[in-house]
Subunit: 378 residues, 2 copies
């Protein structure tokens, strides 16, 4: 195989052209993503730490400190002072580490995990990897997991119960407090997937209900700064209540500066932690609250206007996600996609789902509403 | 929990201070890492694609194309024209996807994987995740896996054989051709972990032996651009010979722009692919060859000088890794670490291991030799 080198200018020009083929969050047309344009301070911080590798922590003590501080802040935000954790590649790795810990602690041959029907699809992936049998609990009429169904699913083989604080499709918060009672009663590991909601719920005017480490039964949480934390991808977060839990996920390393590794990914950039750190330090709690409140007021605005126009909401929004139906939702979704709106059509709920991320501004909502209403009439 | 926001200037100043605590490749003291300072063009390209998310490919068709082109180039370099693959988080995810495919294809209850004693520690992690039993083949006197030992390890339960092209500790290349014969004869999946060697071996003056897709039995290969490819972390690579293999690792996605996902990580930045693409396009094969040859001539130089000074090499270097012993190697290693040299001491071979990455220049080698020789005499 032979390929020629090129000048710096040629390479960068080609990349610029290619980059224009990608959709841009700033255009206000991406309504289907739980990611957004990283905060400018996150981008700046990321660039400063491009050399860093937290897979070899002895070489990068500065980056190690940033990760520790960020985990402390996330823990504290989720009422888990003193928890331990890592900035990882994303929610899938975070959820994997939690289920790996639960599986390895329980040491049950035919291990089962209780999932809500609305749990993130990464759990399917993870159960398949870990040879865990997913047992699905049903939803109640508000699309939250039905706690009595969860209780019925508990068996001798249950190694973990998963609750979700902000489902990917509808932004619903499971009754974590009830799940905590069940977990305590049956002595089962409880993991809360707050990949999306973990950086929304703490900043709401009124936190809907207990969902985090304030409940002693919650053993670990996923919270992804590269979603509503506006950090640069990759920046997932996994937090464990007890540092002892880490013993169940560790691997010995033969040639690195640290003897044990706890994350799934080996070589991993410290730039992720730096980018999360920068957003936290720059915005503070007030800054986050401001951004979340704008997203929530946009959400309310969109929800009200959709209802006024005759659309049906699947559920009243708790977080910044709106799911709605029309007479023929699938057809409407296809037409809106053709018009350049990147929305999700969710077959199992027969709905269009809009995630109101910080890049989706009020002016974009007006345009979207206009198109949705016009298109529905056709 | 309350924390205050700060000005942009404060945040960036604090980050600058923290960054100085991290060690720098440019100082020429990091001799233990298989990563290096990313190439300037890789950094530039990475920054251009910070918004991109290959976990939602419908939104980022430009990034998708870059990933395809890079996989084509890597495949072609490894004699695998037409292969399929992905730029992933690193070697661990790459090796995971290969073993997941092998496990799911074989559907054997008590599945076993044949590993060399010198296989990367990520395989221990992966076998534990996937409930695979690792069966270890012994090494020959050159620290290559002993093919007859591999053959003896084959059983009804074997789902894969792993060969390594460039072991992490000694840079040794297993006899992949022999492993291919065994894999063919026993109809077993063969995966080659060329995380490090895959971007060294093709550029050597004389390729030591067949190690890649030129051997039909090789079903998949790991090759990590964030090691000798000088790309920005995260940039691992997994390449599968047959696109049919992808069916064994796919997960259905309910709300994304693509119906299936094949990588372990869900949300994943397109900046990784852009950074790999840029290095390939800028350097071409000639540029890579130049850099690899410099690393190899530095390796030879260090090896010769160490021998002249009375040190014993564990093995003659094949790739840009030198492993050596002194009278009391562990003590020497500790003293060198105290002097600020980041070297690895490998207990199982009782040796000091030096990886001669592009950031380790001839002038650094002179300084290192001086310190090593002086320290040994003490």
């Amino acid at each position: 195989m032979q390929f020629e080198g090129s000048s710096r200018k040629t390479v960068l020009n080609e990349l610029k052209k290619t980059c224009l083929q990608d959709k841009r969050y700033d255009d206000g047309k991406i309504l289907c993503s739980m990611c957004t344009k990283p905060h400018p301070i996150a981008q700046k911080a990321y660039m400063m730490f491009l050399n860093s590798n937290l897979g070899d922590p002895g070489l990068f003590p500065g980056s190690v400190n940033l990760e520790k501080e960020v985990i402390d802040q996330l823990s504290s935000l989720l009422h888990g002072e003193g928890c331990k954790g890592f900035i990882v590649s994303g929610g899938t790795e975070a959820n994997l580490l939690a289920l790996l810990a639960a599986r390895n602690m329980a040491r049950i041959a035919k291990a089962e995990v209780i999932l809500s029907e609305s749990a993130h699809f990464s759990f399917t992936k993870i159960c398949s990897l870990l040879n865990l049998k997913p047992v699905y609990a049903t939803l109640d009429s508000d699309f939250k997991v039905d706690a009595s169904s969860v209780e019925k699913c508990v068996s001798q083989n249950t190694v973990a119960i998963i609750g979700t604080a902000g489902t990917a499709e509808l932004g619903v918060i499971d009754p974590i407090k009830r799940l905590a009672q069940i977990a305590t009663e049956h002595k089962v590991y409880l993991h809360v997937d707050a990949a999306f909601g973990g950086l929304v719920i703490p900043f709401l005017h009124k936190v809907p209900n207990d969902f985090d480490f304030s409940l002693p039964a919650v053993k670990s949480m996923t919270v992804d700064p590269h979603k509503m934390g506006m950090a640069v991808i990759p920046a997932g977060g996994i937090i464990f209540r007890d540092s002892k839990t880490l013993d169940y996920i560790k691997t010995e390393t033969p040639y690195l500066t640290d003897r044990y590794q706890y994350t799934f990914v080996g070589t991993r950039t410290g730039a992720s932690a730096a980018s999360v750190w920068a957003v936290f330090r720059y915005l503070g709690v007030d800054g986050f609250r401001r951004i979340v409140n704008t997203c929530m007021s946009n959400t309310q605005f969109l929800a009200v206007k959709l209802k006024e126009a005759g659309f049906k909401l699947v559920v009243e929004p708790t977080l910044n996600i709106v799911a709605f139906r029309s007479k023929d939702t699938r057809v409407l979704a296809e037409k809106l996609l053709q018009k350049g709106w990147f929305i999700s059509y969710i077959p199992r709920y027969d709905c269009i789902r809009i995630v109101l991320m910080p890049h989706f501004k009020r002016r974009h909502i007006h345009l979207f509403l206009k198109d949705a209403i016009e298109t529905q009439k056709l």
